[in-house]
């Protein structure tokens, strides 16, 4: 099965061929590297930009204005912060012009911890991005969802922020992307660039790739349960699923929801689950102060208060200026499997 980087690459190939994507660009996105995480290897519309994040976001806006369909990459989300006013501008362009202009553009950027990236390659961006109105914001946790969300992103008329959990980019999926070969080694041979000289290399794209699209605003239940609800996305989602599986042996039945889309998000799915279980834990790894999960807690309190058997909880990254390089520092800074297991166990045991 494809990993997420391969899934992204295949989706972009499909989008170039069928959805009108005209420019896939950013620092090192084109040949010879094809992206520092290899997500853009072998694609036909890729090109390398200057080392200038503001230029990248600005160019994407201009290309979108003139009828192109750009997919821009910011190499690490830690470097997208100096483009914040441009992101705000892209988000308000339709509104401020009373619908005169719209920007069909996608920005992809790797987020979060998990590769020992230290202070400048480990940050999250979901809290900041969900604060900027006018964008759609998604974060997959599986290769298939990455493929499907990116297909939808490339059909959008609005700016889309596609957050890639970098810890999951190399994790193979359990579901097959429609059209990918059954044999993962065969897939690698077809679409992974060789090490060394790549000047003569061309990918052989699987012929049967399909327009499999995951709609924005639709989460999914990855594990059904009755006693409590866990809502997560990105790197922490598979950890939540694993914790739930482990705790099932102890008689704790946790329902796990992968939100997938952060804006718009699937409130109906969360609501139905919380009304069933009466307990909810939101998990992500962005810093905990002014966290997107806090918005979800607030909404849960306001709308579902009388369905609750325990206070809704948030498990998030510590409120720190960065993440240290040492293994122990990274592990202590953002939620790990043990933290999630403990939090679920504690919430399940709380009695009104």
């Amino acid at each position: 099965m494809a990993n997420m980087a391969q899934a992204i690459r295949m989706a972009l190939h499909y989008a170039e061929e069928h959805l009108g994507v005209t420019d896939i660009f950013g620092e090192d996105v084109g040949a010879p590297l094809g992206g520092v995480f290899t997500c853009t290897q072998g694609l036909k519309t890729t090109w390398n930009s200057p080392l200038d994040e503001r230029g990248i976001i600005g160019a994407a806006m201009g290309i979108a204005m003139a009828g192109g369909r750009p997919v821009a990459e910011i190499q690490f989300c830690d470097y997208v912060y100096n483009t914040i006013d441009l992101l705000k501008l892209a988000g308000n362009t339709s509104w401020s012009t009373f619908g005169d202009w719209n920007l069909p553009m996608v920005v992809r950027t790797p987020v979060g911890s998990g590769i020992r990236g230290s202070i400048y390659h480990s940050h999250s961006f979901d809290a900041t991005m969900t604060h900027i109105a006018g964008w759609k914001v998604v974060m997959p946790s599986t290769p298939l969802d990455a493929y499907g969300l990116l297909i939808t992103a490339c059909q959008e008329k609005n700016p889309v922020m596609f957050l890639e959990p970098k810890a999951l980019l190399r994790v193979k999926g359990e579901e097959r992307i429609p059209g990918e070969p059954d044999d993962e080694r065969a897939l690698s041979k077809l679409i992974d660039a060789p090490l060394g000289d790549r000047s003569q290399w061309k990918p052989q794209w699987p012929a049967g790739l399909e327009a499999y699209a995951v709609p924005f605003g639709k989460g999914k239940i990855v594990r059904e349960g009755t006693q409590l609800t866990v809502v997560s996305y990105g790197r922490t989602l598979p950890l939540c699923a694993k914790a739930a599986e482990t705790l099932a042996a102890d008689g704790i039945s946790a329902e796990v929801i992968d939100l997938r889309s952060l804006w718009p998000y699937d409130w109906e799915l969360i609501k139905a689950s919380v009304q069933k279980t009466g307990r909810v834990l939101f998990v992500n790894e962005d810093t905990e102060v002014t966290n997107f999960g806090e918005h979800l807690v607030r909404r849960t309190v306001e709308e579902l208060f009388y369905s609750l058997l325990a206070p809704p909880r948030l498990l998030a990254g510590k409120f720190l200026p960065g993440i240290g390089l040492a293994d122990a520092l990274e592990m202590a800074s953002v939620p790990q499997l043990g933290d999630i297991t403990t939090a679920i166990r504690s919430l399940a045991g709380e009695q009104p």
């Binding site: 005209t22 420019d23 090109w47 390398n48 930009s49 200057p50 200038d52 503001r54 230029g55 976001i57 600005g58 160019a59 994407a60 806006m61 201009g62 290309i63 979108a64 204005m65 003139a66 009828g67 192109g68 750009p70 006013d85 441009l86 501008l89 362009t93 339709s94 509104w95 401020s96 012009t97 009373f98 619908g99 005169d100 202009w101 719209n102 069909p104 109105a133 006018g134 759609k136 008329k157 609005n158």
Partner: protein, 336 residues
């Protein structure tokens, strides 16, 4: 698509302008000046919250609008403007009442539906990208439209304008870098209108370069500094620069020295500044001296526009404000 080439480009640039064109430029300059003065008056009467505009830049801005290839899509010129360019919009064919509506933030404001400041235009039908209050962001965006135009073919170009103070922002450097990449030089006319001020801060205390246009040299970008207060010079130099960008498909950096006749904005009082060159007065003296127009004709024109704007302002005063529920419209693009 083949690239059209202008014959005898340089002699065209220096050719004297036809009487009809001079009269047209003058008409639009007067119309623009009267519009801006009406906007200032509306602001001072409490019919708006903020004024910012470009009295003093009419000679340059009107010429720019007249020279643009007007239309929608990459075959036509894109304009990434700043907030002192009502003259350019009027020259493109916009009616002044739109600006008055934006000042009064009525539901009928054609540029933002009552959401944005004066002088913040958006006109997709003319490829005028939305004007934004953060200065100089347009310099980072403009290379994108130019890239699409280069690939598209034809002779459409991208024009980006901004002020001298904002060239200190990184976006200006981004524009120079992205426009002159050896991998893909772009058909973009990069304009700086230099009024020598950033709100209350004099350029001489902040900018070490002799001319802003000199910054183009480091990137191999053809560049020039002109007197933007001279309507004939502004028109002919713009025409030459645009012809170069149109045919060569390469960038050009044009610095135009202009005046700021009413200060930065309403934030600095919006009162007439007496010690700046007035491009309209100078142009009218020239037109009178050359026998193109009489003083009486020019006075009559100004009076007509003054009455026209006053009538428009009265009309706008009675138009409805936006419905509060309209805040939810157009957050996202809708199917049209």
């Amino acid at each position: 698509m083949s690239r059209p080439r202008l014959i005898k480009e340089s002699s065209e640039a220096s050719a004297p302008l036809e009487r009809e064109l001079l009269v047209r430029i003058h008409d639009l300059m007067v119309k623009t000046r009267v519009l801006e003065e009406r906007l200032i008056q509306m602001y001072k009467q409490g019919h708006g919250y903020f004024w910012i505009g470009g009295p003093g830049e009419e000679a340059f801005n009107v010429s720019l609008g007249l020279l643009m290839k007007k239309g929608q899509g990459p075959d036509f010129d894109y304009l990434h403007a700043h907030y002192r360019q009502s003259g350019t919009l009027l020259a493109l064919g916009e009616e002044p009442i739109g600006s008055l509506r934006q000042m009064k933030n009525t539901a009928t404001d054609p540029y933002s539906g009552g959401r944005n400041f004066a002088g913040h235009y958006s006109a997709r039908k003319y490829n005028v990208a939305p004007v934004s209050s953060p200065i100089e962001v347009q310099y980072a965006i403009a290379p994108g439209t130019a890239m699409v135009q280069k690939r598209h073919g034809g002779d459409g170009i991208t024009i980006v304008t901004g002020g001298d103070a904002g060239t200190a922002e990184g976006d200006f450097a981004s524009c120079l870098v992205w426009s002159s990449r050896p991998a893909n030089p772009l058909p973009i006319l990069i304009i700086v209108t230099n009024n020598k001020w950033g709100i209350s801060t004099a350029a001489e205390g902040q900018h070490g370069e002799q001319r802003i246009s000199d910054r183009g040299k480091a990137f191999g970008i053809r560049s020039k500094t002109i007197n933007g207060n001279d309507a004939v010079e502004a028109y002919t130099e713009l025409r030459e620069a645009m012809a170069y960008v149109r045919t060569e498909r390469k960038p050009f950096l044009l610095e135009a020295n202009v005046s700021r006749l009413y200060g930065h904005s309403s934030a600095s009082g919006a009162n007439y500044v007496g010690n700046e060159v007035d491009c309209l007065k100078d142009f009218e003296a020239k037109l009178e001296k050359d026998g193109v127009l009489t003083r009486e004709q020019m006075d009559a024109l100004r009076n007509n526009y003054t009455e026209e704007m006053a009538a428009a302002a009265r009309l706008v005063r009675d138009e409805p404000q936006p419905d509060p529920e309209s805040i939810w419209k157009h957050i996202y693009a809708e199917d049209k």
